[in-house]
């Protein structure tokens, strides 16, 4: 009995050891894990086309019932003096960067949730409030959320925002890819309003093909990198740019899915509950063996 326990214990330690030492980079494909559709959609953002009109910001606020103001206010280009981030008041923002090749033609970059193929928020959420839909979008469910903000710690793109000013029912705010509109057969609001076709909506695999062709056709215009094709296991939103993405304030991320290591540890510790149960048995065994020890000492 004791020997058996000891073996289990060693096994537990072995699992901890393997989790600790190894971590091979091989991961199950996102498709298998989330049952993603082959035809899942995405958006290709061509930052060399975007003119920074910020109509997308306005349209996004409109459809998400956020205070939007009039469309004319968005012509004000002074907002570009500061770099902005999507927050609880705006689910998408456009930032402007200097163009090293042509000072008169600045580069404008729209930022929003990337809708990862293997999202850290979905993996991290304590109550499963996030869903990765087979069609691509990552959405958040207000009915489950407890406001712990772990998704914000986990997100590699630092996207989810929290309504800190609300005392009751503060929401996590992030782009939902207009999931409801898509269900009705409509385009995402930002894609629909974009006057320059800087945002191309379509099947993700087609978009990657289009992006590759664009790079091939105009190698001087684009750097040979589709952001989101492989970053953190791939994202639904893809970007093309004329300069290095790190110059456009994108974080430098590897190709391993963000939740990979954590999930390996979790599934190692809880492999069919064997490690915890063996530890329980081991401790019980030791306690049983030692149980007689005290009797002799007590008066």
């Amino acid at each position: 009995m004791a020997a058996q326990n000891r073996r289990d214990f060693l096994k537990t330690m072995g699992i901890i050891g393997v989790t600790a030492a190894g971590f091979s980079t091989s991961t199950t494909k996102a498709q298998e894990k989330f049952k993603l559709s082959e035809d899942r959609i995405g958006v290709l953002v061509d930052t060399t086309v975007c003119i920074g009109c910020r109509n997308c910001e306005w349209a996004c606020k409109k459809v998400h019932d956020l205070p939007a103001g009039s469309l004319e206010e968005y012509n004000d280009r002074s907002v570009f003096e500061n770099k902005r981030r999507p927050d609880e008041h705006a689910l998408t923002v456009v930032n402007e960067f200097e163009n090293p090749d042509n000072v008169l033609l600045p580069v404008d970059v729209k930022v929003q949730c990337m809708h990862c193929e293997e999202p850290a928020c979905v993996s991290a959420c304590i109550v499963n409030a996030y869903t990765k839909h087979p069609e691509g979008p990552v959405t958040w469910d207000s009915d489950k959320c407890i406001g712990c903000r772990y998704c914000m710690v986990a997100c590699p793109w630092q996207i989810p925002a929290f309504e800190y000013d609300k005392a009751i029912q503060p929401n996590i705010m992030k782009c939902d890819f207009c999931y409801d509109r898509q269900q009705e057969g409509k385009l995402p609001a930002c894609v629909e309003i974009c006057p320059e076709e800087a945002l191309i909506f379509g099947k993700r695999r087609d978009l990657i093909e289009i992006a590759r062709q664009k790079i091939k056709r105009e190698p001087d215009r684009y750097v040979d990198h589709i952001l989101g094709e492989n970053e953190v296991g791939g994202t639904s939103w893809l970007y093309l740019a004329g300069q290095n993405f790190s110059k456009l304030d994108f974080p430098k991320l590897g190709t391993d899915p963000a939740p990979g290591v954590t999930e390996k540890i979790q599934h190692g510790i809880f492999a069919y509950f064997i490690p915890p149960i063996s530890l329980y048995a081991l401790l019980g065994g030791i306690m049983w063996i030692n149980r007689g020890k005290s009797k002799s000492k007590e008066v």
Partner: protein, 415 residues
């Protein structure tokens, strides 16, 4: 002459001292800020923002709270599983600390949650891949187990002494028989809870380390490692006994008792190797991943890392190996306090110092309100400890009714 040590309420002390008054003021101060938090939202009184979603309520109240309450499970392993009779006197104080410590953790989580009224949601909405889910479930279960483990202390205090006045007098008999029922039932089943408590502790102590792994490159490489859960577990095990020594010595001074030096130095003697194992893994991890290169840059992170490891691990480890330290009340206290500080710094470093979000416009420093709430909760904890040890049989006192001891004596009592 030596006497048997038996748990008994500490009676001979005045409750309301000047120190206690200050603690009460700190608690009131915390409640003022909490009112702002609950009526105005988290943004009204904290320095948290979209870049820094977690502050000291998670880093100190939760992460440090859980780590420093580890004395509960390490002492249970020593006293109940390995069955070292001579350490029996520390079991109840350690249990009380763990129980209060975890209550403090739960309070910290409660005020930090944006939707605190949904704190029970993890019970029905499960996410097995989330380490936070595991920590949440384990902590909830463990708090329950700790309260169950405490019930015998309550029954021991009240069996045969239930004496409600007035209209409640009729309930006396019923309550008494309920206590007797609990006492009898738990005497037979307590081992289940004791073992469960230890298993639950090892699980969530390590998963607390897994929490930050998913932050990936947002966390400084000096701390970001896949063996974080192992390091968290080892450091929690290492800080358990120093925390017991630390608070035993403080409690002894505050309550005017003679500390159980023989027991405490016995605990201290185990500390050198335990800290050694933790240090070996921390050092090995640093060498394998080659992160020592970051120590050549002088910045907040590298300085904090060096303080954490040198002051909080290496120095106390060396001290615990010294016989002189083990036998001196003062030096034992210093070594234990340094270990506690080391783990405290480690948790703060992991959750706050190491965390550098990519788009931070400003760095995070806790607001007056956040600090007030954390300090107030700690004050409340100390007050509750005082109330409970003065009314329940927790701390062992020399029992003069029993015969003086001949063998296996535990020194103590001012005779």
């Amino acid at each position: 002459m030596e006497y048997y040590m038996n748990p008994a309420p500490v009676k001979k002390v005045k409750f309301l001292t000047r120190g206690v008054m200050i603690l009460i003021l700190l608690v009131i101060n915390a409640f003022v800020f909490l009112a702002i938090r609950f009526f105005g939202g988290l943004g009204a009184m904290t320095n948290l923002d979209n870049q820094h979603p977690w502050g000291i309520w998670i880093a100190i109240d939760v992460a440090c709270g859980v780590a420093l309450a580890a004395g509960g499970f390490t002492s249970a392993a020593l006293g109940h599983i390995i069955h070292k009779e001579e350490y029996k006197v520390i079991l109840r104080p350690a249990l009380l600390t763990a129980m209060l410590g975890y209550t403090f953790v739960a309070l910290g989580v409660f005020v930090d949650l944006g939707r605190y009224y949904f704190i029970w949601h993890p019970l029905i909405y499960w996410n097995g891949s989330s380490p936070l889910f595991e920590v949440g479930i384990c902590v909830m279960t463990y708090v329950t187990v700790l309260y169950i483990e405490f019930i015998p202390i309550v029954t021991e205090r009240f069996i045969g002494k239930v004496n409600l006045k007035g209209i409640f007098a009729s309930l006396n008999k019923m309550i008494d028989s309920l206590l007797r029922f609990l006492d009898r039932g738990l005497a037979k089943t307590m081992f289940i809870f004791i073992i469960a408590g230890i298993v639950l502790s090892t699980l969530h102590q390590s998963s607390l380390g897994t929490l930050m792994v998913i932050a990936g490159p947002k966390m400084h490489p000096l701390w970001q490692t896949p063996i974080l859960p192992l390091l968290f577990l080892l450091s929690a095990i290492a800080v358990g006994f120093p925390m017991i020594i630390f608070e035993s010595l403080i409690a002894a001074r505050s309550l005017g008792l003679k500390p159980e030096m023989k027991v405490l130095s016995g605990l201290g003697r185990m500390m050198g190797p335990m800290l050694g194992i933790y240090f070996a893994f921390k050092l090995g991890d640093m060498l394998i991943r080659g992160t020592f290169v970051y120590l050549t840059e002088v910045n907040t992170q590298s300085i904090m890392f060096v303080i954490e490891v040198v002051v909080g691990v290496i120095i106390p480890m060396r001290m615990f190996f010294s016989e002189k330290v083990l036998n001196s009340r003062l030096w034992l206290f210093v070594a234990s306090a340094l270990t506690v500080l080391g783990v405290f710094l480690n948790r703060i470093n992991n959750f706050l110092v190491a965390y550098s979000p990519p788009y931070a416009f400003k760095s995070y420093f806790p607001s007056v309100g956040e600090i007030s709430v954390t300090v107030g909760f700690i004050a409340l904890l100390v007050l509750l400890y005082r109330v409970i040890v003065m009314n329940f049989p927790v701390i062992s006192l020399p029992d003069k009714k029993k015969l003086p001891m001949v063998k296996y004596a535990i020194k103590g009592g001012e005779q």
